[in-house]
Amino acid sequence: MDNSATNSEPLVVDLSIPFPTSREAEIAYGTLSVDAEPKRSSVKKTVVHKDNMLHIHFESNDARFLRVSVNTFFDHLGLVVQTMERFGPPRLK
């Protein structure tokens, strides 16, 4: 996390999450890209998937909102991964 940023330069978190296959990354993207950030949160979040990777970019001027957003994302990501482990592998398209 870049903590040196000032108000004019937003705080940024970038995550790259690998999945066993690109299909699983695609499913995680499908689940995790739906929900908008809460209205009161100032965080801008973008989710992209490329091959077997999921890339998430968080941006905010407020470190507290940023932390909450990243924490929530990890909770949700964990739930997706566990769901895949117990109820996967994905059926063929």
Binding site: I27, A28, H76, V80, M84
Partner: protein, 335 residues
């Protein structure tokens, strides 16, 4: 033959139910129970749902004796409810819908209650009293909408009961309302409380403030017992609900009344409603705690009806919403 699975997590109950053409194949539920004196907060409730969703899902599949490939549609509660718990539950629904290559459908929680109540009781076109910890509405069906005839203008009746249970430090197991009901059975000295019916609407917050403020002193002095206060509270709030329900029935010329929602399993409420219905020559329909209290099967049942008329939700639109009124949904499955 259509098999629908429903994911419910709008409040402190995490439920997953499986319906096959009007038959309940499985309906397990796990409730987040807080210590006496405490309510459930969004974040902790979301953590509870995250921790239990997959076990409850496995339990549902085992109990129904079906495989994921047998399922035709995945239904989840879109709202209304608490944001974080709703999203946590929807995340599991979205993920399995993709893993299993099944269509997904967002369901209105209130519609779930109504459709499950109609299915279980066989009520055809009832006036509905929907009473729970988060909702208080009198509803009647007209031209493709469940129309709200009356509702609370502040807190839900169940919230009023739950919060008074906290004042008395009653257990939240199995639910605060259940424990209020048990105490009320032993009460007999009636304390007059503010009775707030405003047209077709009801208000409970003033009444709650009043009894919250008075209760400690009245119990301390020995003037009233906690049992008397639970009795007085129930008699007052239920009388208000019966009054607006009766007025809606008179307006609609309805001969059926259906009680749904968590407070709907209260025996005293059912008894009072039964008396009113009998006096009008109408019939009362109610269910027990398996279907009154939030559960997954009700979401599957409403979803089953929606799916039958060709509805599904594109994955990118499977959001959740804390506010989602009963009358926003076009009822495509009824004539």
């Amino acid at each position: 033959m259509v098999i629908a699975i429903g994911f419910e997590g709008s409040a402190n109950k995490l439920g997953i139910g499986i319906m096959k053409d009007g038959v309940v194949l499985a309906n397990p539920r796990h409730t987040y129970i807080t210590p006496p004196g405490q309510g459930f907060l969004p974040r902790d409730t979301a953590k509870h749902h995250q921790a239990h969703a997959l076990d409850v899902l496995q339990e549902a599949l085992d109990e129904a004796k079906i495989k994921p490939e047998d399922i035709d549609v995945i239904c989840y509660t879109k709202g209304p409810g608490m944001g974080a718990p709703l999203v946590s539950t929807a995340i599991v629904a979205r993920t399995v819908a993709q893993l299993w290559q099944k269509p997904i459908l967002g369901v209105n929680h209130c519609i779930g209650h109504i459709e499950m109540g109609r299915l279980i009781t066989g009520a055809d076109n009832p006036t509905v009293l929907y009473v729970s910890g988060g909702n208080t509405q009198v509803i009647a069906y007209l031209e493709q909408r469940y129309r709200i005839f009356g509702e609370t203008i502040d807190i839900a009746v169940g919230n009023c009961l739950d919060r008074f249970a906290r004042v008395l430090k009653l257990s939240n197991d199995p639910s605060p309302g259940y424990n209020i009901e048990q105490l009320a059975k032993k009460g007999n000295k009636f304390l007059e409380l503010p009775y707030a019916v405003k047209g077709m609407d009801v208000s409970f917050s003033g009444l709650l403030s009043y009894i919250e403020e008075k209760a400690p002193g009245l119990i301390e002095s020995g003037e009233y017992t906690p049992e008397d206060l639970c009795f007085s509270l129930q008699e007052t709030v239920f009388a208000m609900l019966i009054e607006i329900t009766e007025r809606a029935m008179a307006h609609c010329g309805s001969q059926e009344v259906l009680i749904v929602g968590g407070v709907g399993c209260n025996q005293r409420l059912q008894e009072m409603m039964g008396i009113m219905a009998e006096e009008r020559g109408a019939k009362l329909y109610a269910t027990d705690d398996r279907f009154c209290i939030d559960n997954g099967a009700m979401i599957a049942q409403a979803g089953w009806e929606m799916f039958r008329t060709g509805q599904t939700t594109p994955l990118q639109e499977t959001t959740c919403t804390q506010r989602f009124r009963t009358d926003e949904v076009e009822v495509t499955w009824r004539s």
